[in-house]
Amino acid sequence: MTDTAETLPPSAPKRARDPHRRGPAVWLRRNLFRSPLDGLLTIVFGAISLWLIYKTVNYVFVTGRWDVIRVNLRLLMIGRFPDVHVLRLAVTVVALGAWGGFIAGFIRGRQERSGRVPHGERFTAARALDIVMRLWLPAVVVLLLLLLSSTAGPWITTGLALVAAVAGRAIGPRFGRLRPGPIGAALIVTAIGAVPVGLYFYVVTAVGFDDWGGFMLNLFLALCAIVLCYPLGLLLALGRRSSLPLVRVVATVYIELVRGAPLFVLLLLANVALGFFVPDTLAPSTSTRAIVVFTLFTAAYMAEIVRGGLQSVPRGQFEAAKAGGLSPFQQTAYIVMPQALRNVIPAQIGQLISLFKDTTLAGIAMGVFELLRVSEAITAQESFRGQGLIAETISFAALLFWTVSYTMSRESQRLEQRLGVGTR
């Protein structure tokens, strides 16, 4: 054996088939031109791809008439929000930055306390890279928006919000590491929950809800509906599995009725039919009605998704929880529901993304001045009328929606990995 190995000369003919050879030519041949058919497909689809890229780049940088966006950027983002109160929006954005940073830091602190992550981890290159990988897409889009804006306000707001977020992230762990009693914990949770509610009233007392508009309104509608549909959806899912016949029937009928109606029809109904039952002075504002419809609609879908999750939890889990003496409520809260929700994260996020995109329907069905309607309306302005600019404005709206949806999707995948779905 050793003899042959030593005496064997470096075989020149063999090198051509050496599987470990590298280089662009080898890579090309192996991946794109392995057979004549492969080569043909590569050439055809390569040409189509190049052509598409060329057309896109050409559209974005040469033929596209983006003036309509630049001029109307403010309308697209915040609608007809009055000038004098814009400062309140800026304050809100900065405060939300601090709030988000604080929560991230707070969670980190709690994880450190429970020993899941090491204390006071240093800011390494790996973590920096991780943050860049997570946030580069929204960051690029925000930068694009800032570059399009004609005033300094957005720049200052964004800068301050970033600083506030970093500061919140730095302070958060101190609070997260605390071991407060039940009263202290309740206080902290209440304080965290009170911030967005307080900010809402801070803004809405100055500018009524009906005067909100633009992409801000889409985000707000979706966020409210997401937060509100969860409790309702969970209750409906549990109700449909309840042993009490009345509860089961009510939940089932609700779910099937709501899922059987198109969202658009429900929005129209809320917009028109509500007037038949409620006097105008008592009727809630259009945007509020939209939130209610989105909440009720999404809750029905969420209920079915959660029910699927509940069914995926093995019976042995219920039995072990029972055998431990846990009450039915405790079995659900500590054992069954956490596993059920974790098992259906992809479906849940899909539903929430769908809800976010469906907020555009409120513009068409109810006349709410959200992003899509603004995009249409601005093409009718005097200086842009009749120029077929709808492609530009719709592309812009699509970019914003896609950015947020894709970010949600990626964050959900991250959450799945961290919670270890599929690695029981």
Binding site: A323, L326, Y334, Q339, G420
Partner: protein, 268 residues
Amino acid sequence: MTDQHDAGSPGAPPVYADATVMSGAGTAMIELESVDKFFDDFQALKDIHLKVASQEVVVVIGPSGSGKSTMIRCINRLEEHDAGRIVVDGIELSNDIRNITEIRRETGMVFQSFNLFPHLSVLDNVTLAPRKVRKMPKAAADQLGMDLLTMVRIPEQARKYPGQLSGGQQQRVAIARALAMNPKVMLFDEPTSALDPEMIGEVLDTMKELAASGMTMIVVTHEMGFAREVADRVVFMSDGQIVEVGTPEHFFENPQEERTKLFLSQIL
């Protein structure tokens, strides 16, 4: 009592089939009286009488489908019995949810498929019930949990999740979890049947230590070595009935019933 044990009176079971004679003295920790259980038309338990004394270890054997698991699952109301009485430590099992909860707090159960909570760490698996049911403070519960994990010899795994442990380790965590409520009775439902052969020993050793510490135990198992070594009494069930009861010596050396002999000849 004595009348019932009179082998001469008509209708009374032969002595070797009377499971109400406890091996220890004192009052019964668990008492089953005329218990019937149906799954639709199928009768899973037929007129079961069984008494288990405090600190007694009863091993239940029998072919699959004979009602062994159903019997012990009735004791903590994972299954509802249809007739008869079940009394645990003086509390009669009724439809009153308070009675059921009370009995479940006094009985620990270990399942064939472990049934650990996959989303909780090993330590949290052990401490969940004491914290939520007994309202024990977290620090005290963690201390208790670590003590129990030390007892089953896996304290170093406390921070891991069940999915990261071997089958034998998981079952030992399940035993620690069941002990965390400081139960008076432990029910084992084929605790080693889902384990790889090389891991059966470690779980049986833990159970032996538990038996030696004076725990009252009912063990459904196919491990005849364990039955021979640890059991105070062995109960043989077939077709939903208790066929024969006796000490391990009686059982493995001098079985009386044909069905017992047939079963033992098949597995030994």
